[in-house]
Symmetry: C2
Subunit: 411 residues, 2 copies
């Protein structure tokens, strides 16, 4: 297999240039969907695509597509990721999948010429739900038909603005959001930073992703009785903090015992009245539990729910368990996994194959196309923070694997 | 022993009338120190005292004193409590100790005449620290010399106003706060609602309080590393939420196992960034731990601190343990305990003897006088809430015991 030369200086320049739009401190980015800095980033990405020799268009929700038509028919081979960020996030999450796509396709067009199959690079408008809490995967959901009529008017940002109004402000017509649907994509390849420490620990630049984890998030509310912290004996209390502590310990221990890649996280907690000398009346917390294997995931949730019910009943607390979100696990396409593993092997780029513990646009796009993801090493496994960092060397290795796979698929 | 007739209708009327000042909903009161409603309550209490035949004065911090000079010398026999409230609180906490004092002394003066020893009823200006978080026991501390020069300018309310300015607004000169000191009090008797459920469970109207609990409050801060809830394996996390849950369970279980009257409460908790899909970087919580026995109290704190240090070290988290406040336990005067027990027995009023799990002004006054407290039954043990309730019948039983004890001490 012939190697495609990848311009690593161009990758570095693109990372640097795009980080100017929504720059936050030295290395951070704060770029939420449909903001002025998002518009600036979109325009810069479109310019890169044109410069790479692609035909560029923005779709009905603001996804940017760069396309080169193949000499034969059949569905498109698409690569890309999202260009919105956390508040603040870093310079790599999402964006690196767009940059590697542009750089890989540019190299292929220059070095190999017109493809047999149509290739597209897509810059997805929104993935992080960092402005509109319920908008998660807005870009990829628009493509797959996952945005329902009325969603544009019932999706609010933290200031109460609808996403419809935000779209109008950047020149998009929210009534046309449905027109972003695609039904002609054959394969979607998303390169992304790992967001965990495993590649760094293994000393590897790249992973082929075999599956994307399944997620369920709960809000757990425990209600007891507020009482005086001094005058009310321990044995007569209905203390939801004691209950919450036992449950949180139990959930985290359960995930520990099941071993990798099981993860369970309590990231948010709130007590009421949240006053030191009062036994709380109510404690509310989030549970985020993930497993990429459908059966083990169901087992994890069954154990979690049994534990919560048992503790609340034994302690006489009122438990309300609300499922906030669900994302089914997504096995990546077996053929594509094998194709990218073979590509990395032939390019002599050291890699491992692993599941993704994070959610990604690929999960959405899997409903309409074969999908595969590539991970590149993240320093300290950090992401969603200005400190996230991926070296240009590792990004270039990932882009080489991406280009090699695109070459196999489209030429 | 002759019984003093107590006007229970007067008790009920006083509770009702005073609750108008700072009325909150149907049964609540919101009356913080030096507020307009506090001024109205102060003036009404002064009128009751005058009506009972007492000489009335307001001291340098706004405590109201009603006095009848005894025919002999020696220190005063004082009874009373505070008339500020929580935000909101109820109609009984604090106030009932003033009302019972006025009603008891009025009955004694009418039915027995001038006492041998000087009797005073005091309405303390502030106890709850519900407006100025660091002002706790402002009224009783002024009497005992516990207010230091400069305190008036470094004690701020939640809007940033100094207590000096608040005092000026109600006509008090903050520079004269030191003049409230008393050194001529022999005995202080404080009647108060129980704030716990024990009397109700025992079916008793009254308790003689043998000791006031010792309190230590901590702020516990645990710092780990924020990470992605999906991509970061459980076994590599430094998750302060897991640590906090284990510690909170352990602290509460420790207090349980030590048995009554040990209490440990985690009333406040906060996670950062407090975002469901992020392993928290920091979890902070309060610990309020109480025991009335000095040695057992030290043992409780030693066990709590050892547990927190052990868990944090084992889990590799950074622990910062800050002692926020300390109140030494206060044994009530043995002679006074016996005297009030005897009084209740002779009056055929069923009672128990118990420690107070709540902090009270009596703890402060114990530094300059013999102290004793009486509790009356609280419905469901509720306090610091508009729902707190004590029946007139129980309040009158407590007032009978108070009057009986005053009669023994002052006549």
């Amino acid at each position: 297999m012939e190697q495609t030369d990848i311009d690593s200086a161009l990758i570095e320049r693109c990372v640097h240039d795009l980080a100017r739009h929504g720059k936050y401190g030295e290395t951070g980015v704060w770029r939420t969907v449909y903001s002025p800095e998002w518009v600036a980033a979109r325009d810069e990405i479109a310019a890169w695509m044109r410069d790479a020799g692609l035909d560029v268009r923005s779709d009905a929700v603001g996804n940017v597509w760069g396309r080169v038509d193949g000499s034969e028919g059949a569905g498109s081979i698409v690569t890309g990721s999202h260009f919105d960020s956390q508040r603040p996030g870093g310079r790599f999450d999402g964006v690196l999948g767009i940059i590697s796509g542009v750089v890989a396709v540019r190299a292929l067009l220059e070095q190999v010429g017109r493809p047999r199959r149509t290739i597209e690079v897509v810059a997805l408008c929104e993935e992080e739900s960092s402005r509109f809490p319920t908008a998660m995967f807005w870009g990829s959901r628009a493509i797959t038909g996952g945005i329902k009529p009325g969603d544009v008017d019932s999706t609010f940002d933290l200031d109460g603005m609808t996403i419809a109004q935000a779209m109008r402000e950047v020149g998009l017509d929210p009534d046309r959001a449905g027109e972003a649907i695609r039904n002609d994509i054959d394969a979607f390849i998303e390169l992304h930073i790992e967001q965990g420490p495993l590649l760094e620990q293994l000393g590897l630049p790249v992973a082929v992703v075999s599956a994307i984890t399944g997620i369920r998030t709960y809000t757990v509310e425990l209600r007891g009785t507020a009482n005086h912290a001094g005058a009310f004996p321990m044995d007569l209390r209905r203390d939801p903090m004691a209950d919450a502590a036992e449950i949180i310990s139990g959930l985290i221990n359960t995930a520990h015992r099941m071993g990798r890649p099981t993860v369970t996280t309590v990231g948010r907690i709130q007590a009421e009245p949240n006053y030191p000398p009062i036994v709380p009346e109510r404690v509310t917390f989030s549970v985020d539990a993930r497993h990429p294997d459908p059966d083990k995931r169901e087992h994890l949730y069954a154990m979690h729910e049994a534990l919560m019910n048992e503790v609340a009943e034994r302690r006489g607390l009122d438990l309300t368990l609300t499922v906030r979100s669900q994302h089914a696990p997504q096995t990546c396409d077996h053929e594509l996994v094998r194709l990218f593993e073979d590509t990395a092997r032939e390019l002599a780029i050291a890699f491992t194959t692993m599941p993704s513990g994070a959610a990604h646009d690929s999960q959405q796009i899997a409903t309409i196309a074969r999908v595969i993801m590539l991970f590149v090493q993240s320093k300290d496994g950090r992401s969603h923070t200005p400190e996230e960092f991926t070296s240009t060397e590792h990004a270039a290795e990932g882009t080489r694997v991406l280009a090699g796979g695109l070459r196999r698929l489209a030429y």
